[in-house]
Amino acid sequence: MAGYILKRLLSAIPVMLGITVIVFLIMAMIPGDPATAILGSYATPENVEKLNRDLGLDKPLVQRYFIWLGNMLTGDFGRSFSLNRPVLDEIAERFSATLILAGTAFVLCSILGILAGAISAARQYSLADKAITFVVLIGISVPSFFLGMMMILLFAVNLRWLPVSGMYAIYGGGDLPDLIAHLAMPALALAAVATGVIARLSRSAMLEVLRQDYIRTARAKGVPERRVVYGHALRAAMVSVIPVLGIQAGFVLSGAVYIEMVFQWPGVGRMLVDAILKRDILLVQGGVVFVSACYVLFNIAVDVAQSLLDPRIRT
């Protein structure tokens, strides 16, 4: 097992190097430079050249890449132009906010999705099944940012139950209830699509399992229906649902970008959007590398978990 994990970790190194090259090249190729973004209307060629020199952007591309990579390996991600602070400080702060949001959404969509799928399958074609299928289809179809805006209008502007945006109240907040109040809408909006996908998948996996012989045997020997469905069948259906949870976790993380914009959640997605618009090269590069590394590590973790469940995968 340790060998397998080591092998997977080693194979991640070329992936990460590839990512650094790609993100560096993309940032070098997109039109516009930080100096133009900073100077705005005053971006005369002369001013742009001077500012780029002050920012260290006048060196050749290859040299800049290796300086950046070398610094990063020693833990120095550089300084953000647009926020005037170390990139790593910013990422650390922002990433914890994203983890809270995406983590909550992931837990929500896993529980709600599997539950909805199981109920649907256990009572196929019942009113409950039809109602759940309808709600699930809406969850899958409505874009999350639109859902988010509608939630703001209803719960924050009209009913005034929840705050519109941000992570903590500006005054008198900062505790757990305050966080939960701010988290409720973005987490639900972010979880909606994944909940739908997981519910659909759990439903079909459950239906498949419920037709198996051993389920009939269980029923025949008089096991109560509740235990048949939620004890025997659900457990067996999970084997095909868990890998999808891994994929959905990735979608939840990337979906956080829109949701963070709508709810002004101070996470890494909003940071990247702002940084791209301001051509904040080091912040974009550092952010992308950091998020990619998390994504790669997460995928390895899912693979390892799966190989623990099913040793045939370990080849």
Binding site: I38, S41, N84, L162, R226, V262, M271
Partner: protein, 528 residues
């Protein structure tokens, strides 16, 4: 079997969800309680870059800075005229190269150190002198505002003398611009490159706290030399999404919101909100390529000015958030603007006549449009409406749309060989800036200027050069008025709109007014 009562696990999950929902409602009570009295919460459009006035360029950041710091001079309220601030008085030598300021006595920075001539010298040396020990706290992108400054000399404790390399009339209004705000030398020495996150000035408010991506908090300065601020504290919240900003304002999460999107204005009618408007030194225009193609002919350029229905753009596309522009100088520069100048009327027939005269009927035009950008208002709908107006007089207009930074990269180096016209907007602090940088022959892109349409008129060049070295405001005003009349007739641009900045305040906010400088002066604002 009851659907809500089938397993213990289900019951557990359901109760967990209920708990979450319950906690949410519970938490909601303090979270959405009314904002406290005496504390003004401002919805900003972005996180500030830094609170070091020498290091920033964005109006968004200036809105905070002007409440923390003061300059030697300031714009007097409601105008763009220069008035005393930290300097009580000044004299200008006859040749316009030596400015001597008398400083206000008894002013201290928020860190307790005295404001004096040495502090002023430190500020400008830090920006301009590359060998200054704290020059590395930059870069200082707008330092060129003061590039004419040769030396700054502390004559005595309260007298400071600026010597310029050549006469430069916009010097005083550049000093009033936020780049000229005075920082505490001892605080820069203490914080170094992190000064932008621990700012110290002399203003009516002092810095309290900066929570990244959440809020910048400033508090009333109890030792302020003038009348104390009207609120205990001001909180600036960055809310980058315009829809969310509107929702926060409607829900009572913020007390003051700047840059209300035109389409959202109707939501703020009624007694709960007050809408403030103020035309600023802003011009939205179309650069026409006067070097080649149909717009090389003055009659075709004038035809474009007649063909575009500016009233409709301003009222229907911009929902009344701008006024129709006449000539290159915005009316906000009241002292330099020619009141008698009338905008080109909307007259498609006249446009067709001019086109027939010039033999340019049915010309094909390439039109650069941007997706958004500083001061660009609603560039895509504006661009399409303009395309339609020009099509109505026989032009065949092809639009090419670019993201803002890419757009600047295409337009600033000049339109030659690429396009016939491009959208552009400028916001300036002196009537000199825009024409000097964008209309002179010596400001063609290859000379390092912004004259991307290659307009050239020696008369205009001479008037602008002369206005720049004159130290007599009446004489400058006369020169600018002559320039405006010539430029209006030559039509190197289509003069479209002057933006009216807007802001909404809740009914709890009093004494709020917008300034033509687009700065947000909050000293006298009160909140109940």
């Amino acid at each position: 079997m009851d659907i809500w009562n089938w397993t213990r696990r289900g019951a557990l999950a359901a109760s967990a969800a209920a708990l979450l929902a319950g906690a949410a409602t519970l938490g909601a009570a303090p979270a959405i309680a009314q904002t406290p009295p005496g504390v003004l919460i401002v919805g900003q459009i972005a996180e500030p870059k830094s609170l070091d006035p020498a290091a920033v360029t964005a109006v968004n950041d200036f809105r905070i800075l002007v409440n923390l710091y003061e300059g030697l001079v300031q714009y007097s309220p409601g105008t763009l005229e220069v008035a005393p601030a930290l300097a009580t008085d000044w004299t200008i030598s006859d040749d316009g190269t030596v400015y001597t300021f008398t400083l206000r006595d008894g002013v201290t920075f928020h860190d307790g150190t005295p404001f004096n001539a040495e502090a002023v010298k430190f500020n400008f040396d830090r920006m301009l002198d590359e060998s200054h020990p704290f020059h590395d706290t930059g870069p200082f992108p707008l330092a060129f505002f003061f590039s004419a400054v040769e030396t700054v000399e502390a004559v005595d404790e309260l007298t400071v003398k600026f010597t310029l390399s050549e006469p430069y009339a916009p010097f005083l209004s550049n000093l009033a611009y936020p780049t000229g705000l005075i920082v505490s030398p001892s605080a820069v020495e203490a914080s170094g490159a992190d000064f932008g996150r621990a700012p110290v000035g002399t203003g009516p408010f002092k810095f309290a706290e900066w929570r990244s991506n959440e809020a910048v908090v400033i508090e009333r300065n109890p030792d302020y030399w003038g009348d104390p601020a009207g609120t205990e504290a001001v909180v600036f919240r960055p809310i980058t999404d315009a829809n969310t900003r509107v929702a926060e304002m409607l829900a009572g999460g913020i007390d003051l919101m700047v840059e209300v999107p035109p389409v959202a204005l109707s939501q703020f009618q009624g007694d709960d909100f007050t809408l403030a408007e103020q035309a600023g030194p802003h011009l939205w225009f179309l650069i026409l390529n006067a070097k080649e193609g149909p717009f090389a002919d003055k009659r075709v350029r004038q035809a474009a000015n007649y063909a575009i229905n500016k009233e409709a753009l301003v009222n229907d596309v911009l929902e009344g958030t701008a006024e129709v522009a006449a000539g290159p100088t915005p009316p906000a520069f009241a002292w330099a603007h020619d009141e008698e100048l009338e905008p080109y009327p909307y007259d498609p027939e006249k446009a067709k006549e001019l086109l027939a005269e010039a033999g340019a009927e049915g010309a094909t035009l390439t039109f650069y449009v941007t997706e958004g950008g500083s001061g660009m208002l609603d560039p895509v709908p504006m661009g399409t409406a303009i395309q339609a107006d020009l099509a109505a007089v026989g032009f065949d207009v092809k639009i090419e749309t670019y993201e803002w930074n890419t757009f600047l990269g295409e337009v600033n180096p000049g339109l030659e060989g690429k396009a016939d016209m491009a959208e552009m907007a400028w916001m300036t602090n002196d009537p000199d800036t825009l024409p000097f940088l964008a209309l002179r022959t010596d400001a063609w892109p290859d000379e390092g200027g912004f004259n991307s349409g290659y307009y050239s008129n020696p008369e205009v060049d001479a008037l602008l050069e002369k206005a720049r070295v004159s130290t007599d405001q009446a004489e400058r005003a006369d020169l600018y008025r002559q320039m405006q009349r010539i430029v209006q007739d030559d039509a190197p641009w289509v003069f479209v709109a002057n933006w009216k900045q807007n802001a909404v305040t809740s009914s709890r906010v009093e004494n709020f007014a917008l300034e033509p400088s687009f700065l947000l002066m909050l000293k006298d604002v009160a909140k109940n």
